[in-house]
């Protein structure tokens, strides 16, 4: 579009100002607020037993949810792209549900099934297994909210790549495992990596769903985002630095995630 220099510059100014106010300012504030009383104060809050345990529990959530959703995602993407039939169409329609359901509803739903008064609650409580208000329930919530990322990144790549190389491999006598490992997986690797990084970010940062099913006990059922919530809402304004210290840890993790996303982005739809 041929537009005047003035229009172009004012559009640029509007866009950049909007991004500055909406994106950069808030992120800068996290770091400023964290370190306003000095590095050692912030570091102290990041290394309390509760904070270390929260960081660890967040990692555990990702370590449980991401591999499960990756295996499911690759399998489901293969089904969506390569199979016809009512079941495949049903799976296609249902797989986006976790994106459309409010995280707080996810928490409620899990409570209604796995809670003490839930559908299978007595089965587990009779055996002394606690799911809701404990780590297993938080893991279920994390798996739920991060479920569609890998499917939705891998499926378009698979559709784009097609199957000629796989058919060639099959005619040359490769078993389906060999074909999968040598042809299918390499051809989807960038889309897969992008899906994995998105699910990891969501698993580490989820608050709404786990908030409902966590007992909010420091050292046992607090993830890093829950620690931010708990420190801000329960400790009072004197300990606000504590909340920001935990938020800074999350912000640093998310900047790393963003770097990886940026590095992967040009390649993710590329067909090798």
């Amino acid at each position: 579009m041929l537009i005047s220099r003035r229009t172009r510059l004012s559009l640029r100014a509007i866009a950049l100002l909007y991004l500055l106010l909406l994106l950069l300012l808030p992120v800068a504030v996290v770091f400023i607020k964290t370190f306003e009383h000095g590095f050692s104060v912030a570091w102290g809050w990041m290394t309390t037993p509760a904070a270390i345990s929260a960081l660890w529990l967040s990692l555990v959530m990702a370590i449980i949810a991401v591999p499960l959703n990756t295996v499911f995602g690759v399998g489901a993407a293969l089904i969506l792209v390569r199979r016809r039939g009512r079941m495949a169409a049903l799976l296609d329609a249902l797989v986006d549900l976790p994106f459309l359901v409010s995280p707080v509803i996810v928490g409620l739903a899990l409570t209604l099934v796995y809670g003490i008064h839930g559908w299978v609650g007595t089965f587990f409580s009779d055996r002394g297994v606690r799911i809701i208000y404990a780590v297993p329930g938080m893991a279920l919530a994390t798996i739920f909210v991060s479920l569609p990322f890998v499917v939705r990144e891998v499926a378009p790549v698979l559709a784009e790549v097609g199957d000629e190389q796989e058919q060639a491999a099959a005619t040359l006598g490769a078993t389906s495992w060999q074909t999968f490992w040598r042809i299918t997986l390499p051809s989807m690797r960038w889309g897969l990596a992008y899906g994995v990084i998105l699910s990891t970010a969501r698993a580490l940062g989820e608050i709404g769903a786990v908030l409902v099913v966590s007992s909010l006990i420091a050292g046992s059922t607090l993830t890093l985002p829950l620690l931010v919530y708990q420190r801000d809402s329960q400790l009072g304004s004197g300990s606000i630095t504590a909340a920001y210290a935990a938020a800074t840890e999350l912000a640093v993790i998310s900047l790393v995630v963003l770097l990886v996303m940026t590095a992967l982005s040009p390649r993710r739809q590329e067909v090798s």
Partner: protein
């Protein structure tokens, strides 16, 4: 040769292109049926059975009592605030997202690649962090003297932050593909920049803008993470559900959840009609 359509880009909303033959396809041999079974079992345990429990809980009361619990003045007000904020955010996001996408595609300036990368920040940054920073910016200790924490204003700002990438990322690729020769032809025939935008560019961007805005709207309706610290006494739908769960009123929570899920499904159908793809 496989049928040509299996090489095409996936149909945005509907079922992905399916092959005409199945032999020799990974995941489509004899084990294919088992694969679907396992995938559906996983979906059922994690997603479908729990959601079914919400429906059952909401509907295991008399219609009058269900109706009463989703039409009492508290709930109606919460729904009005939530939907109002979601519509406002979708509209502002559509306009500003299109401007940002246009600047990122058609303009060039130093630092553009960094700005482009930063657009995805709201997807990478945990929403509770976004909420905490808004509290610092607009709360009692606001450095600008703007005190909108615990008001509807801050809800809109938080939702604009978390939904920023939807419209930008949906418009950007379409804008890259737009045939610029048509624009140049329009300009050479005497059309002004504004007319060219309205008549040439906007029509081709419209589906992308609408599907991005619809996704943003759907995300806003259920959002809780970025709002839980900053809404104060502003009752939005997700906070009402959370409060109901906390005060041991699961049936009320389930009833409102049912209403929200139905709203989301309506939006999902609308997105599919618009030909968008549900992402993130």
């Amino acid at each position: 040769m496989p049928p040509a359509d299996s090489l095409a880009a996936p149909d945005p909303g509907g079922a992905l292109p399916a092959p005409g033959r199945t032999r020799g396809w990974v995941g489509a041999r004899g084990t294919g049926g088992l694969g679907i079974g396992v995938a559906m079992l996983y979906m059922s345990v994690i997603v479908l059975i729990p959601l079914a429990a919400v429906f059952v809980k909401a509907l295991s009361q008399s219609p009058e009592s269900f109706w009463q619990s989703v039409t009492n003045s508290n709930v109606l007000r919460a729904l009005a605030i939530t939907l109002g904020a979601a519509v406002l955010v979708a509209v502002i996001g559509a306009v500003m997202g299109t401007v940002v996408a246009w600047v990122l595609v058609r303009d060039s300036f130093p630092g553009k690649r960094i700005i482009n990368a930063l657009i995805d920040l709201p997807f990478a940054l945990p929403t509770i962090v976004a909420g905490l920073t808004l509290l610092a910016l607009y709360g009692p200790d606001s450095p600008f003297g703007i005190h909108i924490a615990y008001t509807r204003g801050v809800v809109v700002v938080a939702l604009l932050f978390i939904t920023l990438p939807f419209v930008v990322r949906s418009v950007q690729p379409v804008l890259l593909e737009v045939d610029r020769q048509v624009e140049e032809a329009a300009a050479s025939l005497g059309a002004s920049g504004g007319v060219t935008f309205r008549r040439i560019i906007l029509p081709s961007l419209r589906p992308a803008i609408l599907s991005g805005a619809a996704l943003a709207f759907a995300r806003c309706v259920g959002e809780i993470g970025s709002l839980v610290l900053i809404v104060g006494k502003v009752q939005i739908a997700s906070i009402v559900i959370f409060a109901d769960i906390e005060s041991d009123a699961p049936q009320a929570a389930a009833s409102l959840s049912l209403v929200l899920i139905v709203l989301s499904l309506i939006v999902l159908v609308a997105i599919r009609r618009l030909g968008g793809r549900v992402a993130h």
